[in-house]
Symmetry: C2
Subunit: 325 residues, 2 copies
Amino acid sequence: MQATARAHTNIALIKYWGKRDETRILPMNNSLSLTLDGFYTTTTVAFHEELTEDQFYLDDQLVEGAAYGKVTAFLDRIRQTAGRLDLSATVHSTNHVPTAAGFASSASGFAALAAASAKAIGLDVTDPELSMLTRHGSGSACRSIYGGFVEWEKGTQADGSDSYAVPIAPADHWDVRVAAVVLSSAEKKILSREGMKRTVDTSVYYPAWVESIPADLAAIKQGICDKDITKVGETAEANCLRMHATTLAAQPPFSYWHSTTMAVMEAVQDLRDSGVPAYFTIDAGPNVKVLYLPEQEETIREKLQAIPGVQDVTVSRPGPGLAYL
Amino acid sequence: MQATARAHTNIALIKYWGKRDETRILPMNNSLSLTLDGFYTTTTVAFHEELTEDQFYLDDQLVEGAAYGKVTAFLDRIRQTAGRLDLSATVHSTNHVPTAAGFASSASGFAALAAASAKAIGLDVTDPELSMLTRHGSGSACRSIYGGFVEWEKGTQADGSDSYAVPIAPADHWDVRVAAVVLSSAEKKILSREGMKRTVDTSVYYPAWVESIPADLAAIKQGICDKDITKVGETAEANCLRMHATTLAAQPPFSYWHSTTMAVMEAVQDLRDSGVPAYFTIDAGPNVKVLYLPEQEETIREKLQAIPGVQDVTVSRPGPGLAYL
């Protein structure tokens, strides 16, 4: 009763921003991401009848507290689905990251945990079923089941049975690059879940955000199909700015941006002004991701690394979906 | 047929952001400002029958081009109202500013021009009538007719006959201070009129902006009445952020902020975190104004002047309304 799975992180080009159901992790809007090769998690799960409680090791360190609680709550769901509440598990996870890449580990972490634990306990699940299980660990993780470009369909059912990821285009469809720009002082003042909830509950711009998504999705899917960096980049950047604008209209207002975040946005605008197709996107934090084409690699690296306050620039390519090792 | 008038600039605490009529300069929402003593314009207008065209001197320099065109178009309105299309004028304006204060000169400039030219040509106008005349030169200038806190009522008439400023509280009601923070590289990439129009025409958040104004106005007027820096500051800052958020959702999106703009916002947040009541507001450009109480003068100056990229900090107090000299 043991299995090992590997999953890669993903970066949202059309953002997941707001839940319609906090318990079932059901989103207000569809989102669309690119799975990246730059950061992945490998997880081995072994279920045992003789264990009395789960054990979770991350990078060979025993984990307790809140992170352990999330893992064991997720395993409860797997045990319940399999009808094997008598089992406990040992979980060994390793995060593989070239440097401090500024990627969230929750997406790759929960996708790998879901796949390994479902296989170890003998659940025979389809990809959509696995994506739905993963969603309960971390919403955006449900997209990391697949490689390349992936859409998370929000679904309309109250029980969440139609809210899962679907593949849009595989990793080898188009060689775009994503530079993860990590800032020197990048502590989050507002946690992403907390900020998301405050925005949904209080921002006067939130309803218009939700209404704006279908047009973004139609545009970016066409752009991905055509391998059109301008269309994909402009749509993603506008979506990112529209998402962050909702936080400025929350009560009280807040922003995930630092002054260096803005300096990176200005540098990307400068690149475009000089004819280099480059576009930024920003999640619920101060770090910036920059989308561009392979032939601009040197120009992009040089420009981004020269910004005062930038600690590290790590480049990713489109990455693969789940693998069982 | 000569008169001299002096008018002070004003800073909007509830922003004028969007026109419902581009020709009549009629706003989509009420706005509320504080007239400041830090920047004023003195203008002398003399009408002559023998002159064949207007002459406009700013700080003793003869002005031609677009700025001249705006002045002469404004004088046409005055001549038409007075039934004296036969007259031409010499206009001498002086901008009085301690240093590069980063205040728009259009508000004080058009208020002084309207008052001096109306008096010189013999128009007997009430304050609301003068405010309406001023509005045609520059929307926000219509508030500079009065000192202290001033509201511009948007009005509902198609002809603009009920769109003018009304006084809320005089300059001596409350000694608050406004520090104008000027950035070193503060060129505007997008002109305020152009950005305003693009936002009204394309931002999906614009309707919610307009709907949000009445609650802001009610809150800030109560705050002004109570001399409550927290209520006035929080309301003004939230209104400013909500205004700038509309530009992030325009098509294409844009922002008036620079990275140093964000650094000033962070410094103000730091001040508050350390117990100093300070609040920012930002017009359609990168410079920042900070609202605070007199007893914090030294702390505020020190903190703001220490920010890299800040060129100058100029302090203003509540200023008076129109004066005829």
